[in-house]
Each structure stands twice: as structure tokens, then as C-alpha cells.
Amino acid sequence: MTDAAKPSTPKTALGRFLDSDLWWSFTHSPVVMLAALVTVVMILSAVFAPWVAPHDPFDLASLDLMDSLKPPAWMEGGDPRYWLGTDDQGRDIFSTILYGARISLLVGFLSVILAMLIGVTVGLIAGYFGGLTDAVLMRIADIQLTFPAILIALLVDGVMRGILPPGAHEQVALFVLVLAIALSHWVQYARTVRSSAMVERNREYVQAAQVIGLPAPLILVRHILPNVMGPVLVIATIQLALAIIIEATLSFLGVGVPPTSPSLGTLIRIGNDYLFSGEWWITVFPGLALIILVLAVNLLGDWLRDALNPKLR
């Protein structure tokens, strides 16, 4: 998110940042501050999961089926070692959430950034140049949109399996996911940016820039890009959530991360098997973690959009 903010943030020292409207609006909105706190805490605890988590659920040797399906510590039959309980494999739910969030966030951020890079570039070029370039790029986008993300993922997965050695499955799975999700989501950016760019390029200031002979890439990045960042941010925030959810769906189809090192989405999916059986904690806690994380990120995105929009000032 902060990457996207850069173009319009003044490239100066901390002092000027603290004076800025951005900082002002941040310190005057308790909801935003709370969201920022939650996001930072969750990202940090995910990044430092190996030091924060009481157990290492990815270390299979440490798991014991004797410990499986324990309810949260405060309930009858709970075990103080596992305060949010354990799942069917005897994994500590709390630790698994931390480790899972790590994978979900990684997949989410990487795929959103990749999709944004592809989409914004394509959209700017198509909208600015128009004509044949536009037609070709938009037809590619049409084709792209035709395929549900699930199918794109299967294709990417299949092709990668063909290219890469079979042993690398566990490591490759994550990047296959990133690529698959990014490839299926760049079009929304492209179409939105394109339609805005089409409007902008007919504006006087762009035409003026063209007249004084500024090169096209410069016009695109300096003049048109800031104007399209608003909608792009809206999409990006929503797609971060979407990426995590799609990851869960893909994991279900066997293209996701292996069940031995689950992401938050995979955890919810696994927990879904226990909705009727009474072991609600397997699905409820990862679900809550996911909702809180996405909610916090979205709140930040909302605030950023309002605060950063150059037209606000």
C-alpha cells in the first residue's frame, strides 16, 4: 500500500511528512490508527512467527495425533499449552494462524503488486495511445477475463510442473499461486486505468504537455498516473482480500499450498469440514483472523485513498 502512495507523497524529510495532511488525517482518526496498529501487529507477528508462536506447526516431527482436536484452553478438556485449541493433526491453532497469515500475506501482497504493475502499465498504454495498441491490448484483456482464476491457476500450475523439477513442489506452489492470482486480476486495473486515461489524455494539461514535447512515458507517469491512482487503490485493497480468498479456493482444488504448511485460507477450508461436528474453533479463529486482517488493511486503504487524492487539496 505504501508503495502506491509514493507518487504523490512529497519526496522529502520526515519533518515535512509530519507536517503533511496525511499525518494530520491519520492522527485525527482513531479508527484508522486502530486499523494501522492491528495491521502492523499482524504483519509483524506473521513475519516473526518463528519467534512469536509457541509451537512450530510446520515442523511435522513435533506434531502428535494425541494432541489433536483439543478445544481452546478455557473450555472443558482444553490444554493450557494450546490456548486456541488444536486441529485434526494436533497443530496448535494459534501458532498455525500466525504461520498461515505469513503465507496468506505473502501471496496476497505479491500477487496484488504484480497484478497492479501489469494492469496499470497495460491500462496506461492502451488508454493513452488508443487505436491498434488499445485494440490489441484490450482483446488480450477480454481473453484473460474469460478464464476464471481457477482455470488460469491450473494452467500456470500445469506449465510450471512441466518446466520445474518434481521435487520443488512445496516451494513452487507459493509462486504458482502468486502468478496465477496476479494473471487473473490485472485486467480490472487495466480496464479502469484505461478508461480514466482515455478521459485524461483529452484534457488540456495533457495536450499542453504533448505540445511542449514531453516524451510519452513521462506524461503517462507524471500526469496521468496520479489521476488514476484513486480507483486503482480501491481495487488493490479489495483485491488483497480477494487474493487471500482465491488462494483458499485454489488450495481446495489442489493447486494451493500443501496442507502440511497451510495458509489462513487453507485453514478455513480445512475447518469447514468441522462446521457440523462441533470443533468450531478450527474454522472460527482462522476466519476471525482473516476478517480482522482484511478489514484493517481495507480501512487503511480507504483512508489512504481519501488522504492521498491530489484533488482533495
Binding site: D59, L60, A61, L63, D64, L65, M66, S68, L69, D88, Q89, G90, P166, G167, H169, E170, L253, G254, P258, P259, T260, N272, D273, Y274, L275, F276, S277, G278, E279
Partner: protein, 533 residues
């Protein structure tokens, strides 16, 4: 279509009430995870499809609720010689269109089942000829002795010759040509069974009604059946709990408590004849996915032994299967002909021994190996694989688990994918319920020409066991045959060719005001359903 079937329904209802005032309309609604693939009884040889069609069509023989062989369209049979059987056919049997059943239909059915596209070819080709003695007596000849013939015939459903000729359905339809050639029977039926199909939308809904001209007096009081395939387990359970259906199967084992606690619903369980086991690639010189290069660790019996003793079957039973599995030391279940309880001793859980063996074999720090696993085929398959992975981790083996849906899984590990797996989980139910089927498919050396060892994915191969497979096939003396079977089982066990895990449970959910019989082959026979409401 809809209007017409409603009209038919109305007419049927009037007809029923006219005939007897006591008979009330009893509707039975049930759901399975998939639909029958076709209405053609000689289409796919698959348990659910055949079981489903068993309500509409009938064979010469059949199975009752306890899986005892019973006469259906034949009244009795005797063996004239080891290769000739005489069947006496039932008189007064009508097909659903009113046609009469006789010996010509039996001969026609056999010929149809041998046609190119038939899924029943393997079964039908056990028979070399059928002679008509009179309209209600036939003699069936087999190429060699087939002691199980009467059992096999329970799955060869009789079709009407006249009806098939009239609708150009005298051969089983090609899989890719339904709707064009010979395809009438894939979407229409004309059986002799107690129910007839009145409405069918594949994958969505099938409606059956009681056939008033049925020859028998089955236990059931059901007059109308609505079958809906529901693929998601959670949706299936929800539909049962909410009272929209009377029976759902399979239901997840972890939901049994919920079903039993809910009012008016219960879980119905029993052992299934399917054995779940682990296999290891013992053929390649280097595994397709392992940290060990230049050699295949599974060729060393100490490694296979170490794997076998690292797995705690009882822990899997308790935690993953909720107590509903039967840990096994054999590759076949107690229901299978040729089972000997004395031989059924699982490998003992002994991780210390496993570690020692791995060290002796030259892997004191273990190694990494890929594992393939389906995630929508067997009861809790993926969870079992995960548990196996963590048990193996404790003795130093790092498992790179790849759990996939069954189509991708089978495409990778079976013959079409070049048996591309170092270590895998598979389940097997012998179609004939005889141990020879297990030997020829899973245990005999792989041999494409002789159609053997087709599912021997790891290519476990022992000359003596290979010989025993033939001996078991031909031996008619039960005592001698059992000795061969036991010898094969002992060799397999000593050589750690496979690691049997358990037999999985049948798992149905049913409303309490409906009584059903859960057959060991997981077939839902509506003849045994009684609706008490």
C-alpha cells in the same frame, strides 16, 4: 416434460388409489455425492451407477440386505459341469413397457454386454456361449471354470430384446456418441425392477415411481423416489438435517455425533470392504521426487520396514477416523472371499526400530521423499496422508505431500501417467469380492500384455507371488486355495511390499422415520426401504 410427468403422476396416483385404499403415497428422497453416469445398464461398470440401476433393472441373481446371493430373474440354477450352468428363468415377469421376459432376452443381454463399447465386457466375456433350452431355461457355458459366475450375473442386468431393437439400442453406446448412435438406452430405461424412471435430468434430479406390474413383493412401501446428487459434503449433511431429504451418503465421519444428537436423524455405519494402504516405488533406480540421488531407497527392505513401523494405525483410527476404521495387516478386507483372520496382523508401531533401521540402511538423518495423495476419493484421505507425513517426520523422513483431486491424482500415479510417484496412498475394493482380484491387480508383477499388476503402482514384484496368483485363479479346492493365498500374504508381509492401513467405514446419514438396509458394498437398494410416516 414437466407437465406431462405431472399428468402421469396424477394418473398413477388415481390408479393406485383405485386399486387399494390402504396404499398411501410414500415418497423417499435421497442424495449421493454424484449421479449415475447413464441409464444404460451396460455402460459404466461402477458401483454407484449399477447400484442405482439395480432399482430399475435386474439380473438373473441379486443380493439381499445381508449380501446373500438371492434369485431374481432366475428362480434356481445348477451346474451341469464345471463350465456349464443351467438357469431356470422366472415366469410372468414384465418389463416396464409391458413386454414379457424370456430366454431370448437373456441371450440378447449377453450379446449386448459383449459389444465394443460395453462397460460390462469383462463380466460378459466370462461366458463363451448361452444356449436356449426352452423359453424359460438357458444353459450358460464358460471358457474355463468360473466358480463365481452366479455372483457376477447379479451385476449383468437383463434388457428387453424387442425394446432395444425398436429403439436401435442393441449395442452399448460409444461414450462420445450418445444422442446419435445406440444412445436411446443412455437416457431411457425399460427394466423389470420395482421402480421405473419417470423424470430424469442428469446431475440434477431423478424421479422414480413404483412399477405396478412388478413380479415380486419387496419389503418396501415406497411409491415415489426422488434422487438428487449433492456433491458438497456440508450441503448434503445440511439437507438431511433440515429435513429436505431422508437419506444422504456418504456423510463425513466427524459429523456422526452431530447427526446422532440432532432430533429425527441418525448416522448409519458399518465396515466397507475397501482397504486403504500405502505403496512405495520399488522399480525405478532413482525415485522421481526424493533427496536421495543415484539410488532408490525403497529397494532396500530395511527402509520399507522402517516406514511400516513408523506409522501408528491406532492413532489414525482414533484421531482421523473417529474410531471408525479397522486397522489392517492385509491388503483385503474380512468381507473378501479368501480372507483369513489369522493372517491379519498389522505391522507394529515402533518408531525406535524405524530409526535404527534407517541408520543401518545408511540414512541416519533420514531423507526427503514426495508423496501423492487424493483429497476427494477416500474417507479423510488427505488427513490420513498428513498424519502419515508427521509420523514419518518423527523418524527423520521429510515428506513432500502433494494432495490433489482424484482426476489429477490418478492421472499422475496410474499407468496413463507412467506410474509417476515415489510414495502414495491408494484404496482398493476387489470388484468380484474375491482375493484373486487383489493379487492380479495390486500384487502380481506389472505386465501390460497379460493385463496384470495394473494398479501395482510401485511395481512390487516377487516370482513366487506371481506364480501363486495363477494358482489361486485356477484352484477349485478351497483348502488348497486358502493355503496359496496365505502363502502369498505371508511373503508380501515379510517383504514389506505394501503398508496396509485400514478398512474405512460406510457412512450414511438417515432420518429415523425411515428404515433402510446398509449393504456392505455401499449399494442403496430401495427394495429394503420402509417409510414410517
Amino acid at each position: 416434460m414437466k407437465i406431462r410427468s405431472l399428468a402421469l403422476l396424477g394418473a398413477a396416483a388415481i390408479a393406485i388409489s383405485a386399486m387399494s385404499a390402504q396404499v398411501q403415497a410414500k415418497t423417499f428422497r435421497y442424495a449421493f455425492q454424484a449421479d449415475a453416469q447413464s441409464l444404460d445398464p451396460h455402460g459404466l461398470n461402477e458401483t454407484f451407477t449399477l447400484g442405482f440401476l439395480g432399482n430399475v433393472y435386474e439380473g438373473l441373481t441379486g443380493y439381499d440386505a445381508q449380501m446373500n446371493l438371492i434369485p431374481l430373474l432366475a428362480t434356481k440354477w445348477e451346474t451341469v459341469s464345471p463350465t456349464v450352468w443351467r438357469f431356470h428363468l422366472r415366469k410372468g415377469v414384465k418389463f416396464h413397457d409391458g413386454g414379457t421376459f424370456d430366454a431370448d432376452d437373456v441371450i440378447f443381454t449377453w450379446k449386448r454386454a459383449t459389444s465394443t463399447e460395453s462397460g460390462q465386457k469383462a463380466r460378459a466375456s466370462l461366458i463363451s456361449n448361452i444356449r436356449k433350452i426352452d423359453d424359460y431355461t438357458v444353459e450358460i457355458e464358460t471358457a474355463g471354470p468360473v466358480p463365481t459366475l452366479a455372483r457376477e450375473l447379479a451385476w449383468l442386468y437383463i434388457m428387453d430384446k424387442q425394446w432395444s431393437e425398436k429403439h436401435n439400442a442393441t449395442e452399448a453406446a460409444k461414450p462420445a456418441s450418445a444422442g446419435r448412435e445406440n444412445a436411446w438406452a443412455t437416457t431411457h430405461e425399460n427394466g423389470t425392477g420395482p421402480f421405473r424412471v419417470v423424470e430424469r435430468q442428469p446431475d440434477v434430479k431423478t424421479v422414480m415411481e413404483r412399477f405396478e406390474g412388478y413380479w415380486g413383493k419387496p419389503k418396501t412401501n415406497v411409491t415415489k423416489v426422488i434422487f438428487t446428487p449433492i456433491s458438497q459434503a456440508a450441503t448434503r449433511v445440511a439437507a438431511l438435517l433440515s429435513g429436505q431429504i431422508d437419506l444422504a451418503y456418504p456423510v463425513p465421519v466427524q459429523d456422526w455425533n452431530r447427526l446422532n444428537a440432532a432430533p429425527g436423524v441418525k448416522a448409519l455405519t458399518g465396515p466397507e470392504a475397501r482397504t486403504i494402504f500405502l505403496g512405495m516405488d520399488q522399480a525405478r533406480d532413482e525415485l522421481t521426487n526424493s533427496s536421495v540421488k543415484g539410488k532408490n531407497p525403497f529397494k532396500d527392505i530395511r527402509v520399507r520396514k522402517a516406514f511400516a513401523h513408523a506409522i501408528d494405525l491406532n492413532a489414525i483410527k482414533r484421531a482421523i477416523m473417529r474410531g471408525a476404521s479397522w486397522p489392517s495387516g492385509l491388503m483385503w478386507a474380512p468381507q473378501v472371499n479368501g480372507y483369513n483372520p489369522k493372517m491379519n496382523v498389522p505391522y507394529k508401531y515402533d518408531p525406535a526400530l524405524s530409526k535404527k533401521l534407517l541408520a543401518e540402511a545408511g540414512y541416519p538423518d533420514g531423507f526427503t521423499v514426495g508423496m501423492d495423495c487424493p483429497n476427494n476419493r477416500y474417507v479423510n484421505d488427505e488427513k490420513i496422508c498428513q498424519a502419515v507425513a508427521s509420523m514419518l517426520a518423527k523418524v527423520g523422513i521429510k515428506v513432500d505431500l502433494l494432495a490433489q483431486p482424484k482426476s489429477k491424482y490418478f492421472a499422475k500415479v496410474t499407468a496413463s501417467g507412467g506410474y509417476n510417484t515415489p510414495f502414495y496412498l491408494l484404496g482398493w475394493t476387489p470388484g468380484s469380492m474375491d482375493v484373486h482380484n487383489v493379487f492380479v491387480n495390486l500384487i502380481a508383477c506389472r505386465d501390460k500384455e497379460r493385463n496384470r499388476g495394473k494398479y501395482n503402482i510401485g511395481d512390487y514384484c516377487n516370482k513366487r507371488v506371481d506364480e501363486l496368483t495363477d494358482l489361486i485363479a485356477a484352484e477349485t479346492d478351497p483348502k488348497k486355495r486358502q493355503a496359496y493365498i496365505d502363502e502369498g500374504a505371508a511373503i508380501l508381509k515379510k517383504e514389506y511390499g505394501y503398508i496396509p492401513l485400514h478398512q474405512q467405514p460406510l457412512s450414511w446419514g438417515v432420518r429415523e422415520d425411515v428404515s433402510v438396509a446398509q449393504r456392505a458394498d455401499n449399494v442403496m437398494d430401495i427394495r429394503n426401504v420402509v417409510v414410517n410416516r
